[in-house]
Structure formats: C-alpha cells, structure tokens
C-alpha cells in the first residue's frame, strides 16, 4: 500500500517485482501504465507538463487507494504519478492492485485509475510542435467512468 508523486521516471518491472515478492497469497496482479501519446485530439504534441497540488494530491491518492482497499480484498496496491515536463512515450502514471483472485485485481486497478482521473489534482499543459501550449480540458467520459463506481 503506497502512493508516490514524483518528478522522476519509475521502473514498472521493479515495482511489480516488489509488490509480489514474498507474498504467496497473491494469485493475480493487474497493472495499468499510462503514457504520453504523440497525438492529442487534433495535433501532434512535442511535450506535456503536469502540474499538481503538493499535499492535496498525495492526500487524494491515499484516499482513493484506501477506498479501493475497502471495496476489494487486496494484498497490495500502488499508485505512482509523475509531474513536470514529459515527452511522447514517457510514462505518466502506474496503478497496480494485487489480490488472491483476478476479479478483485482487475476491478480495483480499474477503479484506481478511473477515480484518480477525476479526483486527484493534476493538470496537463500540452505543447504542440509550433510551441503553442494549451491546458487539457476535463473529459466527460472520465467523469462517466468514475461515476460507474459510485
């Protein structure tokens, strides 16, 4: 059970290994990794800057994680979210949930990323190849995805 908000990249393999090490109760681990895509809605991106609210961001992520652990019998869980300037192909976020059974692992992992997207204070500033910078607007589909878990 851990939450990390950091500028540095992370190593999914190392995180997965640490989550499952020495816990022989785990039958399934689901991991989601979000990456910066080159193509935004209508244009090619050269970079993206992620801003966050130090303090509140960690607090909200911890709450999302605690909520997942109340809803599903998880052995382990992890949320890592980066901030700062990222380029296409860079990792942004990792969420993981491990449980005795795969149902719980899948559902909790999906819940973590859906809630994170609507509850955790992060904002994306996209830069295109012309140097134009635009703040990403919240997507209704993200709200709908999070609403499924109400």
């Amino acid at each position: 059970m851990a939450v990390r908000v950091q500028r540095e990249d992370f190593d999914p393999g190392q995180e997965i290994a640490a989550l499952t090490a020495n816990n022989k109760t785990i039958g399934g681990l689901t991991v989601f990794v979000g990456l910066v895509r080159e193509m935004a809605k209508t244009r090619a991106l050269s970079a993206m800057t992620l801003e966050h609210y130090p303090g509140m961001t960690e607090r909200m992520l911890e709450r999302i994680e605690a909520e997942a652990r109340e809803r599903w019998p998880l052995e382990e869980s992890l949320i890592i979210h980066r901030y700062g300037r990222l380029e296409p192909g860079d990792r942004i976020v990792l969420v993981a949930a491990a449980s005795a059974h795969r149902d719980a692992a899948f559902e909790a992992c999906r819940f973590l990323i859906d809630w994170l997207k609507t509850k955790a204070p992060f904002w994306k500033l996209e830069e295109d190849s012309q140097g134009d910078a635009t703040w990403v607007e919240a997507r209704e589909s993200d709200e709908e995805a999070a609403d499924r878990w109400q």
Partner: protein
Amino acid sequence: MRLLYFAWLKQKVGHAEEEVTLPEAVTNVEQLLAWLAQRGDNYAAALSDPKSVRVAVNQEYARPADPVQNGDEVALFPPVTGG
C-alpha cells in the same frame, strides 16, 4: 487566508499564491469567489466561468456553501485532468 492558484487559473490571475485578509461579510466559498472577482480584471477574467472553477479548502474539495475563514488554505483550479 492563503490562496493558491493552479493551471490556467494561475496564469490568468498572474501568480501562484497570495495572502489575503477576508472582509467579515465573506464566510463561504461562493462569497469568496464573488469577492475575489471584483479585486481586478485578472481575477474577473480567471473567475468569469464559475462552472470551470474547482475550490479546495484546507486540501478538501469544497462546495459553494462550505464555510471559509482567515487561516484557511484555499485553492482554486480547473477540473482535474491527471492520469
């Protein structure tokens, strides 16, 4: 009261944070936003569309009727887009 601004709200207001002293008449989030909006064109522009402004009081999401007071940390920001 400590005020924090994020994302395009920070850009429109022109700074990331400031200390303000609330008039006595300002006791909730809705009143705070109305009071801020009349402090200058930058604030008016930043707060012109209340639907796109989210508020956190002491790092908790807050609604228009939620109370605020001097000593609080209040953050204003657009809907979140992480992940």
